[in-house]
């Protein structure tokens, strides 16, 4: 709900109008008749013993620790766990919905098999037989897609697919994919972790760090801690990106820049740092310097981005002047970034000497894997799913004979939806392990419902963005409500049926072994009185007190470790940036600048039941989603407020209603993601359009990875 000064006056005026038009006398009689009857048709609230149990959110990518209130053993609501380092009592609208989602009308209630255009229920035993036959026949050509970026389930999945003869084991693309590729090209080891708690100046290039990027709840807690209400802030946050999004709304400064130019902006800032004498021993520094000086001087950057040299000089100055500067790069909508902007942003951290330093970027080690033959997370992140599926769609890559989709919804959540759907059609046997009837499940041959996080054992290992290694447990606090199973258990049962040895019989054993391996890692501790960022800042790490780590994890505490992988060859990879970071030509129509929010869920959850109410009518009005552009852009394109328009790109059309909103860069059309579902339930279905489908995938020069950071759209 937009509320400007006029509308605010309306709040008061509305009161008066309401009084005049209220049809009190008539309605009164009618209503009085209703209340005096008893309210038997209203649900009764449950009675019983109230207790609280801890677990971790798995539906929300911010991986908050949760405290679940139960009544007579039934979970009733979820709150943030104050003892968990990724929550500290906060919770996102998505994590809060974990309980309601148990009863989402979109839940798949039993295993199902395709029967023509519809599905028919089958038993788990039949499903296993069917799968083992089909997968046995497909040996040598089985692919998998996982949408779970943090779970040990990936070890089970990739080990199984590996032993069946993998045609590719992919992760749904996200921020972690771009960052992993960037670090690989820079010759670095580990996963980038951002120490917001100890940083004092934070330059955010694109990443929506307080909404969808990384450990957003923890990021906001860290931000809030340096912002005493109404007093002078103890931190300085600068946001660079195409819109004043949820993150920029609370930052100290917003610098408008197109998502595709973020790499150029970073290199432009590097120019000022170099001029002020910044230097580095890291490999490739000389090339980096030459590249920066050769093409990213103030004039070049101004031409490409419209940002004046004085602005970038100012940023460089505050970064250099601060004790603990941090540069974070990411896509404003959580995917499609490419590697070069991340490399450029990371180069700033290197120039500022911020690698493996408190308040800087820690290179975090990956936790040891326990399932033999499993792919490491780094190896999974190296796969390029959009490129693979595009190849399949165009017959350049042979279609795999079978595909296992775990907790992922590629038919909805990838760019170029039409191409992706075409690729999926070419795969003869597809299985979806999903909890909800999503767009991908609807295309599959077998749908094998995964129990929801509150019904299963699962885990969360170091979500992308976390500044420290962290491991927490997800545990069942309620029996499965429907005929669902933990997918990892189903995969292990399948392996047995196929006579494949994965070492474990059930997933709980896998998790126990994982936890056992953690207790051997040196430097790890349970975050209770001492938090990992305090250890990063110099406090001694407590010992991992003997006793039962598993028990501590079940009680909702997290195992943490301030990790740093010593870097031997981390260099600048300036050649990659030189090829990729070039000014794009201005779009003839407008450039799409999508944004995502946790309240509209993820592609795997749809819009959580309880969250639709939180979506303002400037985003969804009736059945239409609104796109935002500033008045200048609207004028150029001849568009008016409230007008219905058609956005076209990548051979796809999407409806939209025009919302004039001045916190969008000129030439950009900002569009909400998370809408336009054709599957799921009435909370998600048929509400607005999926603007991600308008985005075209291109190959990023220099890195060769798929990117879709911006697309030109026609508006009519």
């Amino acid at each position: 709900m937009g509320l400007d000064r006029r509308a605010f006056l309306g709040l008061v005026a509305g009161g008066a109008v309401g009084t005049m038009f209220t049809p009190i006398p008539w309605k009164l009689i009618d209503d009085a008749a209703i209340w005096t009857q008893n309210w038997s048709w209203i649900p009764k609230v449950p009675k019983g013993q109230i207790d609280y149990v801890a677990t971790t959110s798995k539906l929300c990518p911010a991986s908050e620790g949760l405290k679940i209130m139960r009544v007579a053993g039934n979970p009733v609501s979820a709150a943030g766990n104050p003892d968990h380092p990724l929550s500290r009592g906060g919770v996102s609208a998505l994590a809060r919905s974990e309980v309601y989602m148990l009863y989402s009308p979109a839940r798949i209630k039993s295993p199902m098999k395709r029967n023509g255009k519809t599905f028919a229920p089958i038993t788990w035993e039949q499903a296993l037989i069917e799968m083992s036959e089909k997968l046995g026949a497909a040996k040598g050509s089985v692919a998998s897609i996982s949408g779970d970026a943090t779970g040990t389930v990936n070890e089970v999945l990739t080990a199984l697919v590996g032993k069946l003869g993998s045609a590719g084991a992919f992760m749904m693309p996200g921020e972690a994919t771009s960052a992993a590729k960037a670090l690989k090209l820079m010759g670095a080891q580990g996963q980038a972790g951002y120490d917001f708690e100890n940083a004092d100046t934070v330059l955010v290039l694109g990443a929506d760090i307080f909404e969808t990027w990384g450990t957003s709840t923890r990021n906001r807690k860290a931000f809030g801690a340096t912002r005493p209400a109404g007093a002078k802030p103890a931190s300085n946050y600068i946001y660079v990106g195409p819109t004043r999004n949820n993150t920029a709304a609370v930052c100290d400064q917003w610098i408008p820049a197109a998502a595709a130019e973020l790499g150029v902006v970073a290199m432009g800032i590097a120019w000022h740092l170099l001029k002020a004498g910044a230097t580095s021993n890291a490999p490739g520094f000389d090339t980096f310097k030459a590249v920066v000086n050769g093409g990213f001087g103030p004039e070049d950057v101004k031409r490409a981005t419209g940002i004046g040299g004085d602005v970038l000089a100012g940023i460089a100055k505050s970064l250099m002047a601060s004790k603990a500067a941090l540069v974070v790069t990411g896509s404003p909508f959580g995917q499609g970034m490419g590697a070069a902007p991340v490399i450029a942003g990371m180069s700033l951290n290197m120039l500022l000497g911020r690698i493996n330093k408190p308040g800087g970027v820690y290179m975090l080690p990956e936790l040891a894997s326990v399932v033999p033959g499993a792919l490491s997370r780094a190896a999974m992140l190296d796969g390029d799913l959009p490129a693979f599926l595009k190849g399949v769609a165009s017959d350049k890559t042979p279609a795999p004979k079978a595909l296992l989709v775990y907790d992922a919804n590629p038919a909805y959540g990838l760019p170029e939806a039409a191409t992706m759907a075409k690729a999926l059609e070419k795969i003869p046997f597809k299985v979806s392990f999903s909890s909800f009837m999503d767009e991908t499940a609807a295309l599959c041959d077998l749908v094998l419902p995964n129990s929801l996080p509150l019904e299963r054992y699962d885990d969360v290992a170091t979500p992308y963005g976390s500044g420290f290694c962290v491991y927490s447990l997800v545990r069942p606090i309620q029996k499965p409500i429907y005929d669902t199973k933990t997918s990892a258990d189903v995969l292990l049962a399948l392996a047995r049926k196929l006579s494949i040895d994965l070492k474990f019989d059930n997933f709980q054993q896998v998790l126990k072994e994982k936890v056992a391996s953690l207790s051997k890692a040196s430097g790890g501790f349970v975050a209770k009185d001492v938090m990992p960022w305090q250890v990063a800042a110099g406090k001694p790490a407590p010992a991992l007190v003997g006793g039962d780590l598993w028990k501590a994890l079940e009680a909702g505490y997290a195992w943490t470790m301030v990790g740093q992988v010593a870097q031997t060859g981390m260099g600048f990879a300036a050649e990659v940036v030189a090829k990729a970071a070039k000014a794009g030509k201005p779009a003839a129509g407008a450039t799409l600048a999508p944004y995502a929010q946790l309240r509209t869920g993820t592609p795997a959850t749809g819009i959580p039941c309880q969250d639709l109410t939180t979506v303002p009518d400037t985003e969804l009005l009736g059945e239409n989603t609104l796109v935002r552009l500033n008045s200048e852009t609207a004028k150029t394109l001849g568009l008016k407020k409230g007008q219905m328009v058609k956005l076209s790109a990548a051979g796809v059309d999407c409806q939209a209603k025009v919302h004039i909103f001045e916190s969008v860069m000129t030439g950009m059309v900002s569009a909400p993601l998370g809408f336009g579902h054709t599957a799921f339930d009435y909370f998600s279905q048929g509400k607005g359009a999926n603007y991600l489908s308008l985005m075209a995938v291109a190959e990023e020069p220099g890195s060769g990875m798929s990117m879709w950071i911006a697309s030109e759209v026609k508006i009519a």
Binding site: M1, G2, L3, D4, F8, L11, V12, G14, G15, I24, K27, L28, D31, I34, W35, W41, I42, P43, V45, P46, M69, V76, S77, A78, G80, G90, S92, A93, R96, V99, Y100, Y103, S104, F210, S216, R227, A229, G230, R244, N246, A249, V250, L598, Q610, D611, L612, T613, T614, V615, P616, L621, N630, E662, S663, V664, M665, D681, Y682, F683, K687
Partner: protein, 252 residues
Amino acid sequence: MSGQKKEFPITWGMVIDIDKCTGCGACMASCQTENNVEPQRDASNKLRSTSWMTVYELTNGKSYPDHDIAYLPRPCQQCGNPPCVSVCPVIATEKNENGGIVSQVYPRCIGCRYCVAACPYHVRYFGWFDPVWPEGMEKTLSPLTSVRPRGVVEKCSFCHHRWTLAKDAARAAGKDPEDLADGAYVTSCVQNCPSGALAFGDLKNPKHKVHELIKSPYAYRLLERLGTDTQVYYISRREWVRKLGDNYLKSE
């Protein structure tokens, strides 16, 4: 605007730091589940949907690039001088309990909606439909708040049931229930906000953080000049946000 103002020794209040709110809606979702507001399939119709806590988007009204935005979470302002109370013909809403929370007695409400019309902050919601939960979801209802039928007016209660729980806990621990420690009673929205934008406590108790916060030169209340004397304070270092909150005219 209404009758005499009552003073209460305990005055529960909320302080909302607008400079920290990112507009995520977690407070809204928290309130809904805490207080048994049903998930609404047609929630995009804001004239008929219910949301005791609503996050408004404020703008400074300027064009790009001078445009600025802020988010304003709006619970019931719990007026010291509530316009809604004096217009209620059946005394379904009152301000007479210690704590200064404006009550709403559902079984007594006749749905006339005078209070809806009288509230300058639009915090009152009329239930147009009987609440219906998707099958099975009624198991997730909170036992601590009643479910309201269609036809009555409902609103934020500062999660009043939590105060009762906090007092019980204090009694059980042998402490004075009338002198709760800071944080012993916090509302659901305050507890769950990931940004720490919301604070809650006894405005009159010097041991509570909010007592200090409301003295900040950046603190203000909505439509202060109406004399409603609300118990919800906002804080912003941005002058335009503060001015907007008190409904300044352009000429001022």
